[in-house]
């Protein structure tokens, strides 16, 4: 059936179950229940420390069909997911659900486990590399569930996704499971996603390559949440842990887009003392941060907080006094990791505090301006950051849908056309973020404002910005690129796009 966004979503999906259809971004207001966690208590004399992962696995209640979870703070330098799954597979278990906050190219070994039906379900907020390609062509037994960062916290806190064992890569830990992410050779900074795993899984296993004397003096995840501590040689590759995306773009088109975006923010009514701001780690998003820094200094604007994944550029703004504090859910580079460790105003936050729609109020609710990217955007302002235009998974919402919902001004920055493909479509290939939460799109040739934002349109009329309708912007793009041929899909559903409240926005079908 067609849901209210016009997307074809069945009422029931094999391998997923009954679908709760999207009803609107504020529709889920009400009472929610957190699941109760059963745990094995640790009494005086009990020990947690092991130097051998196999010894721990021997003790765990492993079974077919279990749900195991991992966090992605070690990004493309992660060793833990592969290490654990290799051992679990070797022990002959199958039909396993993996709940990984994100999956990267380094996790390519999972493809074989998918083909052998050892792994039959995947929950993730972002998937790229061989696993994404494999899911796109239907190699996973059941449809992958792609959620938002906040949605993962909701899934796990509510028990909609009951995690049996969480394997938590811990850059530093003491023998009792006090973990931090800022110390050690594999430091990754904030452990925002890992905190949720620790809090909600039945059994938690911390795996560390940096054991310190008890007690660890910086504690991101406390001992009360950890069942086992395992020491290994290396939990990840430091070169892969730091994202390769924390450089301002040098591309003049990207810089122009950043310029226009900053001009727009300045005139939006939100550019004032106390403002809060979030931007991504891509080249153009960072260029906006650089421009905003110059403008805030020039106009003497003191913001309240910057949030999100934190980069050195945001840290610089904090050090300049442009933001009173930082809310950090993950660190993208070494400068951010160092700041998380040293600066008291640089606060780490869990994924739930960041973006969960089903708690008593997450940080995204207090956000003024957010800068986001897009692969595609359609004339209803719906955004796709999950698939390419030919239907292959190459990303996922991450915090996209969460911040769009929460922010007073959600701005999408993108080149109008890339490799001769227009970014603006009649309908997005996959719907990741609903248009009712997206306010503006900025491209190098023009800016389109969501018609619902009447006051914003009024305010920006007085500027020299090239404001036009999104249809006009699409026409300009198509004049350059021509109208693309429609991609054809089979009926086979390979992934489900879940909104922050657990309703289903859209599905990804296998391309013909």
């Amino acid at each position: 059936m067609k849901n209210i966004l016009g997307r074809e979503v069945p009422d029931n999906i094999k391998g997923y179950g009954k679908v709760k259809h999207y009803g609107g971004y504020l529709k889920s207001k009400g009472t929610v229940v957190k699941r109760s966690i059963k745990l094995t208590n640790m009494l005086p004399g009990d020990e947690k420390l092991y130097d051998n992962l196999d010894l721990v696995l021997d003790k765990l209640p492993l079974k077919d069909g279990m749900v195991v979870s991992f966090h992605h703070h070690l990004r493309n330098g992660d060793f833990i997911l592969n290490m654990v799954m290799e051992k679990i597979a070797a022990r002959g278990y199958k039909d396993i659900t993996i709940a990984a906050s994100s999956i990267f190219p380094c996790h390519g070994e999972l493809v074989e486990l998918m083909e052998k039906k050892i792994v039959t379900n995947i929950y993730a907020g972002y998937i790229s590399g061989p696993v994404a390609d494999a899911i796109s062509v239907g190699k996973l037994e059941n449809p992958a569930v792609m959620h938002t960062h906040g949605g993962r916290a909701r899934l796990m806190e509510s028990g909609d996704l009951n995690v049996d064992i969480a394997f938590i890569a811990a850059p530093t830990s003491d023998d009792y499971g006090n973990i931090n992410g800022v110390d050690g050779k594999s430091a990754c900074g904030a452990l925002g996603y890992a905190y949720t795993d620790a809090e909600t899984a039945d059994i938690t296993v911390a795996i560390t390559d940096n054991l310190v004397e008890y007690p660890n003096t910086t504690i991101d995840i406390p001992q009360t949440l950890i069942d086992y501590v395992v020491v290994v040689d290396a939990i990840g590759d430091p070169n892969g842990i730091v994202s390769g995306t924390t450089q301002i773009t040098k591309d003049p088109i990207g810089l122009k887009i950043a310029n226009m975006t900053t001009e727009l923010i300045k005139n939006s009514g939100y550019f004032k003392d106390g403002m809060s701001f979030q931007t991504g780690a891509g080249g153009v998003s960072l260029a906006v941060a650089a421009d905003m820094k110059a403008e805030m200094i020039e106009h003497n604007i003191k913001g309240s907080f910057a949030s999100g994944g934190i980069t050195g550029y945001i840290v610089d703004m904090y050090k300049e006094g442009l933001f009173k504090s930082l809310f950090d859910v993950q660190c993208f580079d070494l400068a951010a990791i160092k700041s998380a460790k040293e600066n008291s105003g640089h606060m780490t936050m869990s994924a739930s505090m960041y973006a969960n729609a089903n708690n008593k109020g997450s940080v995204v609710n207090k956000l003024d301006v957010v800068i986001l990217g897009a692969t595609e955007i359609d004339t209803d302002f719906n955004v796709n950051v999950t698939t390419t235009s030919n239907g292959t998974i190459m990303g996922g919402s991450g915090g996209h849908a969460d911040t769009s919902a929460g922010a007073k001004l959600a701005i999408i920055v993108t080149q109008l056309a890339n490799s001769r493909i227009s970014a603006i479509k009649d309908r997005v290939t996959t719907l990741t973020t609903p248009g009712e939460t997206v306010d503006v799109i900025v491209t190098e040739r023009g800016i389109a404002i969501n018609p619902k934002r009447v006051e914003l349109i009024e305010r920006l009329k007085e500027t020299n910005l090239p404001i036009m309708t999104i249809e006009e912007l699409k026409d300009i793009a198509e004049a350059m690129t021509g109208k693309p041929k429609a991609v054809e899909f089979t009926d086979e559903i390979v992934a489900i796009i879940e909104y922050r409240d657990g309703t289903v926005l859209d599905v990804v079908r296998k391309a013909k």
Binding site: P252, I253, L255, K256, E444, M480
Partner: protein, 289 residues
């Protein structure tokens, strides 16, 4: 027209030809000369021809830099490009002799194509010592000339000196070119600042040239456009002053006075002209409505 910035775009790069006017420069120079290797000259000519036929550059002035007459490419460049009716041709290594030749060739092509004679304009790129010495003569050779652009890199080589950031070596050429341009009532466009990573240096160089009387600057990178425009656009203070001058003028006229003072200074015709120009420029840029 407003000509604060003229941005060079290599003629053999389709991506850049497509996005040329996105960067907001007042003019774009599609280049057949220095940006294009010898083996690519004919391909670039074809590409620019197709670009001009396909893309709408809006209000941006489209200028084609042809190869100099000393090369085997110039005649074909002019023959192909002029028939596409660009806004202007940029003549490199400009001298009085070459300017006369170009002017005559354009007249012939305009008549053949049925264009209004004189409609294709010329920018003179002065970049040799001989070109600097004879710049005023060059300007007398054609009615099409919109500006003299200074080519500092080639000029420094011709002078046998090092090209430096403080550009002392260009002082004579700069002031001579500015003087000739003002005497001929045309634009004077300064040489590009070639270190694209040095924002402070670009700012200083642009301010310096403006002080000498240049009305705009050549640019080799889109990132430079904003800075150049900032310097060549009226500041808020200048606009406010111009408004006050016009107001005082209106008040004086009501009382039948031809000359009046503002802030203790006498305001006569040249000052009023400056105020009017400031407000016109501000209006065109969109600084005032």
């Amino acid at each position: 027209m407003l000509r604060r910035s003229m941005l060079f775009m290599p003629g053999n790069n389709p991506g850049m030809l497509q996005t040329a006017e996105v960067f907001g420069s007042d003019s774009v120079i599609l280049d057949l000369e220095d940006a294009v290797s010898l083996g690519e000259k004919d391909a670039a000519r074809i590409l620019i021809k197709e670009a001009l036929k396909t893309f709408d550059y809006g209000t941006t002035e489209v200028v084609i830099r042809i190869n100099p007459f000393s090369t085997p490419y110039a005649l074909e460049d002019i023959d192909v490009m002029a028939r596409l009716k660009p806004n202007a041709i940029l003549l490199p290594k400009a001298t009085p002799e070459d300017m006369k030749k170009l002017d005559e060739m354009l007249a012939v092509i305009e008549k053949e194509e049925g264009f209004e004679v004189g409609s294709i304009r010329i920018h003179a790129l002065v970049e040799t010592t001989y070109g600097v010495e004879t710049v005023y003569e060059t300007l007398k050779m054609s009615n099409r000339i919109e500006s003299v652009c200074l080519g500092g890199e080639d000029l420094a080589a011709d002078l046998g000196v090092e090209r430096t950031k403080d550009s002392e070596e260009l002082f004579y050429a700069r002031t001579k070119v500015v003087n000739a341009c003002k005497a001929s009532k045309i634009d004077a466009i300064d040489t590009p600042f070639t270190d694209t990573n040095d924002e402070a240096g670009l700012l200083a160089d642009t301010i310096h040239a403006k002080k000498l009387g240049f009305t705009g600057k050549l640019s080799i990178n889109p990132r430079q456009i904003n800075t150049i425009h900032k310097i060549y656009s009226p500041t808020a203070d200048e606009i406010s002053w111009a408004n006050r001058v016009m107001y005082a003028k209106d008040e004086a006229e009501k009382e039948g006075l031809g000359v009046f003072s503002l802030d203790g200074k006498m305001i006569d015709a040249p000052v009023i002209t400056r105020a009017v120009n400031t407000l016109n420029t501000a209006r065109v840029i969109g600084l005032i409505k």
